[in-house]
Structure formats: structure tokens, C-alpha cells
Amino acid sequence: MTTVTDHTDDGHHGPEKGLMRWIKTTNHKDIGSLYLWFAFVMLLIGGAMAMVIRMELFQPGMQLSEPQFFNQMTTMHGLIMVFGAVMPAFVGLGNWLIPMMIGAPDMALPRMNNWSFWILPFAGGILLSTFFMEGGAPAFGWTFYAPLSTTFAPDSTDFFIFAVHLLGFSSIMGAINIIATVLNMRAPEMKLMDMPLFVWTWLITSFLLIGAMPVLAGAVTMMLTDRNFGTAFFDATGGGDPVLFQHIFWFFGHPEVYIMILPAFGVVSHIIPTFARKPLFGYSSMVYASASIAFLSYIVWGHHMFSTGMPVAGELYFMYATMLIAVPTGVKVFNWVSTMWRGSMTFETPMLWAISFVFLFTIGGFSGLMLGIVPADIQYQDTYFVVAHFHYVLVTGALWAIIAATFYWLPKWTGKMYNETLAKVHFWWAVISVNVLFFPQHFLGLAGMPRRIPDYSLQFADFNMISSIGGFAFGASFILFTYILIDCIRNGKPADARPWEGAKGLEWTLEPKAQYHSFNIPPTKVLIEQESQNS
């Protein structure tokens, strides 16, 4: 097969010039870059809010903000990081990498791909505009529980609801596109069990997105009508129940956390074999583990509601189901470690991020396990222990994988090499500061410090100050990160087509800076088998 682009434009020969290229583009690489830059900007905005939070918590007493403003900060920080930074970043990686990895010229539905991205800036704009509205931005936490978000919320909440609708459309379209691409655009000779793990994990993630995002849309729609049209979904005086909100939200919410971590698992499963110079240990068990994690993630949502109140049978069921997820997750960690076992390891920057991912994500997994035990969770619920848990899985898990992927595939995206020395400095800076930032929060939580409160009693002072110092240092590390990226794009030395010695995968068979349409002619069976992770 060869590629034919519709001849009504000059896309056949390469990108258009100027701004219109980015607005009109149907190219998976252009759209991937747009997603990644969007996510990066959102990461910085959300990060700035985190700095405000840590400044407020630097010392006991009120430092610089009103409680209401502090709540706006925690709420918007969470929403922007989840929906604006982590999710778009993974969709961006998927866009860039999936067609290259499966030997395709582009995504299956390129025009819809453009729309999935171009809804995002509008959604982000509407969400951020709530800061300038009367009553301020939403301040009810990123989980927007009713009735805080219905009866007692500012007018801007309706704008927030529509922003969530738009984000949902974008995610659903993105997921549909990835499913169609993987199932229909794959090189004809590539069997499912030849697919790289990043492709597998994204395929599975897409099913989570299509199952979970519409339910979130339903939840915010019920909020909308409760707020404006007199329905009583979450209002007990009309026969509804605020607890119903939590059930619907977490039916979305728990799959959502795996939406943010499964592609990360995929990334790490590429990087570790490369720098251990060994095939991935247990390829097929990785695939089955990912699928069972995805399935289980739909039936454990109640572990977020142990202290909300539930029949005891429900609490027990959700506790055991939650424990069950540790099994496939353990399989994954075991496989990563076994891949490294007796490998000829080197420690280039992507590998450093990947190995620290394995360590730190596992810490988050263990604290998750602790939270999954009903009697223990009654103590931990709504304390900083939960905050520590989900930052270990999301920052040193999801975000770590995004950064690892950036360094690993940057040569393929730009055709240039980043500055390895600076990148290593950046890694150590980030990995130390992030632990100074989040590890003490475990202790704070166990000692009983509640989350989402701008002030605290004196016994929490020391650990909070340590955590804040770590926070500022971690925040500052992103200045260096930005510099390294721009330096690579501007002045990087030319990279080889396969810059990493042990790297396998079809993407490395392309030109150093991958050509505009990846595979105009599908790769041969021999090439596919040679580059397969399953060997």
C-alpha cells in the first residue's frame, strides 16, 4: 500500500505553512505535538496553583489566601492536572507513537482527530474563565460531590459543567479513533500479539475511556438539571440521594485513574527492555494483566466511599475486589524487575525515570492497598495519607512515565539529541525533591491532618514545612526541564535513527526525525517480527 492524501490540499508533500497548518491539520504527528504542548502549558498552570497551595501550607495559620480561594486552588489544581495535563499528554503520546508503532501512515479518522484536540483549548478556556466570575471558580474539590456542587456552589459551576462535557467529547472521540486505528490501520502482517505494549495498553485504555467518560457526562448533566431545572437526583428532599452522586462519580473515577496509569505502564514496558538489553519478560502476561486491571477497575469504585456509608456486605465486597487488583499490578512489577534481572543495564535518562517509576509507583500501590482495607481507611479517609497515595501514583507514576517517554522518543520527534548531562541533573533534582515533597505527607496523614484545609494545628508544622520546601524545589525543576526541551529542539546534535542501542520497535526503523506520514508502505512480516517485543 502507498499513501494518497486528498489532493485538494498540498498535504501530499508535507505540512502547510504558518498557523493554518496547526488549525487544519489531519496529521497524527502535528496533532500529537499540539496535544503535548497543550498538556505542558496546563501542567505549568496547574503547577503554579500547587505552588500557591504549598505556600499557604508552609506554616500554620493563614498565610496569603482566603480559605475560599485556597479551596479554588485545590479544586482547579486537581481538575487541570487530571483533565488538562495528564490525559491530553497521553493522548498526545498515543497520537505520535501508535501509527509509527503499528506500521500505519496515520490515524484511522484524521479529521475527527483534529476535532478531539481542537475542543480542548475551548474547554480549558471555559474552565479557567471561572476564576474571573462572580463567586469565583469551583471550590468543591476535583470530585465535586453534591450537594456542595449543586445547592451550595457558585454560578460558575455551570460553566465548569460544560467544560467537563467538552473534555468528555474530546476524550471519547480520541478513544474511538485509537480503537479504529489499532484494529484497522495495523500493518496487515502484524498480529495482535506482535503489538508493542504501549499500543496494547492504549487500546485497553480506550475501552476504559468509552465506558467511563459518558457516565461522567451523565453525572454532570444531572448536576446541571438539579441546579437549574428543579430535578432531585442528588436531593433527599425529593427522594434522590447525594450518595448517588458519589456512586456515579466513582464509577467513572476509578476507571479514570487507570486511564491515567495504563499508558504509563506501556511506556515503561518499552524503556526497561531497551536499556536492560533484554526482551521484555512475560510479554503476554503483561497484556493479560493490563486487560484484567481494566476489567477490575470497573468494579471497585466503592473503595472511595468506605466512610460514606454502605451496607457492610458492600464494604467487604469492595475491599476484596480492590485487593484483587494488586495481583495483576504485582505481575507487572515482577515482569519489569525480571526484565532487568541480569540485563546489561545502562542508565541513560529515560531509564532513570523508568526505574524510579517502578520504585515510586510501587510505593503508591502499597499505600493504595492500605487504603483499600476498610477498617484502616476509616482512619485514613480524607487525610494527607490519601493525598500522598495518589500523588505517588499520579506524579511519580503517570507524570514520570510522560517525562520518561519524552526523553525516550524526543530523538525520533525532533531528529535531535537532548543534553544528557543536564537531563541527568534534572532527573536527580526532580526525584529527590518529589520525595521530599510527598513522602512526609504520609506521616501527616497518619497523624490525622485533614486534606483540603488551609490551616492546621501546630504538631503538623515541621512536616508541612519540609513538604513545602520539596514542593518549591520540585516546581523549580520544571524550569530546567523546559530549558532542556527547548535546547534540544533548537541546538540538539543530530540523532541516529535508532539512538538507543537496545531499542526495538518499528518507530526506530523510520528516519531519525520520523517522516510526516510514517509508513506509506506497510512494513514486511520479517521486519515486524524482528522488531516485535514478543520474542
Binding site: 445547592t151 451523565g218 432531585a232 440521594d241 456512586h247
Partner: protein, 294 residues
Amino acid sequence: MNEQEYYIPSGTYWPIIGSVGIATLFVGFANQMHGASWGGSIMVFGFAILVFMMFGWFGQVVKESTSGKYNSQVDRSFRWGMSWFIFSEVMFFAAFFGALFYARQLSVPWLGGADNNVFTPELWDGFSATWQQIAFNTPGATLQSGTAVSVPTQLVDVWGLPALNTALLLLSGVTLTFAHHALRADHRNKIIGWLVATIVLGVLFLGFQIAEYGHAYHDGLKLTSGIYGSTFYMLTGFHGFHVTVGVIMLTVILYRVQKGHFSADNHFGFEGVAWYWHFVDVVWLGLFIFVYWL
């Protein structure tokens, strides 16, 4: 077009136009709800942009398809896309069905004192935790937001219009299947006949549904009638919206059949709309059973 080539569509303005449209619509809607007099017009304007986008975008795809640019791979991509889009719609309805089951099985009985929450019946005088009648015995009750609860005087009669509507919609599924068979056999007049029948049945359904709403509303069953009114109107309302969209899509398909866009073995547009129509059908069965009947 050559089966040996990948097809990549040209760049496009339609998505950004769509984004502007839908953002305008939402911003207008939000302002309208907050009492801004201009909100409604902005909303209509945004909707107009969205309609313009759909005409333009779909029109372009139809033109490319009929000029023979697409190969079977593009066709398969559209099929995957449509099926998973419909699945996402299923999950959207699932959220509302979930709310319905939760209210019926859990929250309303709890309010009535099940599981020893004996205090709740004293919330309002004469509160009865009977489904449908949840608000009947509570005149003067208000919601937390202060909205007065509308107390219906009569139950919805299942075996009247709802049953008739079930028959109509099921029949429309059959006529649409006949149209599909006719399409595969290349009988143009038969296709048109069965399609027109399907559309007429769909429109009849919508007409009766509006009449049914009229009755219910007249009897005091409103969105503000507590959880029963909420689930009743939201479920049937979203379903009615989907039927409306379905009827519009069928009409477009009818027009395209007349234009000769489809052939016996190449008619994804028709099939996609048919899938959608059957999906709407199945949702109605769920509604009929769980909202009206049981």
C-alpha cells in the same frame, strides 16, 4: 479508489468551526440559565454554527465518498467509529438508568425507613415511599434549592400511549430492516417506500410522546416532581432527543437514496443510521419496561 493505497483526508476547517459553535452554544446556555437576556440568542447562534458545521463536514465526506475516493479500509474505520460511538451513548443512558435503579431500590426505600432509618418518614407529614407516588402525599414540600415540589394527581398509564409507542417503534425497526433488504437487492422504489414508512412511524412516535408529555404535565408530573419526575423526564427526554436526531438522519438517508448515493454493496451511511435507529429502539424497550411498566 485503489485498494492498494492508504487514504488520508485533506486538512479541514470544520472541526475548529464546530468547536466555536459548541462553545458558543454552551456559554450562551449557561448565561441564559443565569438570567442574562442575551444568553438565548447566543445559544441559538452557536447552534446555527454547529448545524452549518455538520452540513459542511458531512457534505464533504459524502462528496468524497460518492466520487469514489474511499476504499474498504476507510469504510471499516467508519464502521468501528460508529459502533463505539453508539456504545458510548449506551453508557450515557446507563448513568441515568443507574440513577433510576438506585432511587427505586435504595434511596426511596431508605427514606421510607428501610434498614432502620426510622426517622425519615417524619421528615414530611404523610410521606410515603412508594415509587411514582414519592411526592404525592407531600403537598407543600420544597426541594433543598427552595423549588416547590410539583405533586402529580395521576399516575402515568402504561397501556395507553406508551404501549402504542412501543408498538410503533418496534414496527419502525422492522420497516427499516425491510428497507435494508431492499437496498441490498437494489430495489430503489421499495427502499424509498420502507424508509418513508420508518420515518412516518418515527414522527408518529414523537407526536404521541409530545401528547403524552402534555397529559403528564397537565396532571402535575414535572421535572420538579421529585426523583420520579426527574428520572422520568430525563430518560424519556434524552430518548426523545435521540429519536429526533434519528428521524433527521433517516430523512437525510432518504434524500441520499433518491440521489443514488448507495449501491447494493456500498452503503455504510445507511447502515450507520440503521444501527443508531435500532439502538434508540432498544433504549426505548428499557424505558418502557423500567420507567412505565414496572
